[in-house]
């Protein structure tokens, strides 16, 4: 799908063991499949059905999303950072598209 833009805010640096707040937002219409267009035809469902965050290959959060979630879904969660590494964020679209974003964090 076009015009989908993931946005993520993570800390650039942290101390080992710090708990950081991660914010993620993705622009997406999240069409529920319940609505009709002006001609009365059902608009087919198209939502992001899954969101995951991994840190250095280890899963942090794995969310199953349902049609009642509103447009531009936003997730905020906390994560403990044990070491330097990369956050991998992945969103899965109903149409098979996968949107990805990576962020590095430096542990001093």
């Amino acid at each position: 799908m076009d015009n989908v833009r993931p946005r993520v805010r993570t800390p650039r640096s942290a101390s080992a063991g710090d708990v950081a707040t991660i914010k993620t937002l993705i622009s997406h219409p999240m069409e529920s499949g319940q609505r009709k267009d002006s001609q009365g035809n059902t608009i087919p469902r198209q939502i992001i059905n899954r969101f995951t965050c991994d840190f250095n290959g280890e899963n942090v959060i794995d969310v199953t999303m349902e049609p009642a979630i509103s447009t531009n879904p936003y997730f905020e969660f906390e994560v403990k950072i044990p070491e330097s590494g990369d956050f991998q964020f992945t969103w899965y679209d109903d149409d098979g598209s996968v949107y990805e974003e990576t962020k590095s964090v430096e542990v001093s």
């Binding site: 015009n3 833009r5 946005r7 805010r9 914010k23 937002l25 622009s27 509103s70 447009t71 531009n72 936003y74």
Partner: protein, 281 residues
């Protein structure tokens, strides 16, 4: 039993005002950097109000906080889209906005004085009119609809680079006639309900109209992200909605009447900060 009811009533009385509005002394600072003026003395031409208050001061704490960080502000998604459009070439002349204006930041200050007199065109120009003039005259591209997504995104981008600057719309000189027309519309009662803009936003602001907490109706936060629409809303769309709610027949979006009203309403907010794209309910 009676005691219980009373405490419940007392608790309700305490809770209700807090639900209506956030802390009146709250300060609006965006990204911890841009300090906004949300309350100030009314401009001289405005007799009906002593102090003017940004729509932000009428919203709940949750809505207020959305505007205080660009990551939390859903409108910034659309600003990002406009930033892409800014650098994308379009039209027969093979030009983008950036071809003439370089970065969007070069337009800093523009939003604070819009709408303003365009000497060449001989009339009052809004952001939408400037954008479309660039598109048709210089880029030789199709104009965008006044209320189209592309246009709202672009005006939000243009507004975002002026955030924190003081609204300073000229009301004298060649714009005077248009401004007077806008003022006339503002104080005219429309629709079956016979409501003028002033009925709600000047005489009864800070009151509740059913579940809605009435603001003073300034437009310094436009285009604004409305949670209700989950999208940006243009000034004229909001004007249209207000007149429709009076059960009247609104002027056309983009019409000279609404341009005049935009000029007048903007001038009522002279002294507040440019907040657009703001977040409202």
């Amino acid at each position: 039993m009676k005691f219980k009811t009373m405490t419940a009533a007392a608790a309700l009385a305490l809770v209700t005002p807090a639900m209506l509005a956030a802390d009146p002394d709250a300060k609006l600072v965006v990204n911890g950097q841009i300090e906004m003026t949300t309350e100030t003395e009314a401009p001289e031409h405005l007799d009906g109000l002593r102090t003017i208050r940004s729509g932000w001061t009428f919203r709940t704490e949750e809505t207020q906080s959305l505007q205080m960080d660009d990551f939390d502000n859903p409108a910034m998604i659309f600003v990002d889209e406009a930033r892409d459009a800014w650098y994308a070439k379009d039209g027969a002349a093979d030009q983008s906005c950036a071809s003439c204006h370089e970065d969007p930041e070069s337009l800093r200050g523009l939003r604070a004085e819009l709408p303003k007199w365009n000497e060449e065109a001989g009339k009052v120009y809004t952001a939408e009119m400037y954008v479309n003039e660039c598109r048709t005259e210089r880029m030789e591209a199709e104009p965008w609809g006044w209320d189209s997504q592309e246009m709202k995104n672009m005006t939000a981008l243009i507004s975002s680079v002026s955030r924190g600057m003081t609204v300073d719309v000229q009301i004298d000189g060649p714009v005077r006639e248009t401004w007077e027309r806008g003022k006339e519309i503002y104080y005219t009662r429309y629709g079956q309900l016979e409501l003028a803009c002033a009925t709600c936003h000047e005489e009864n602001y800070d009151m509740n109209i059913r579940a809605d907490h009435l603001s003073q109706g300034h437009i310094n936060g436009f285009p604004t992200y409305r949670l209700k629409q989950a999208n940006l809303v243009s000034m004229h769309n909001r004007f249209n909605g207000c007149i429709r709610d009076t059960r009247g027949v609104p002027y056309e979006i983009g019409s000279e009447d609404f341009v005049a009203l935009e000029l007048y309403v903007a001038s009522r907010g002279n002294g507040l900060s440019v907040e657009g794209p703001a977040v409202r309910n």
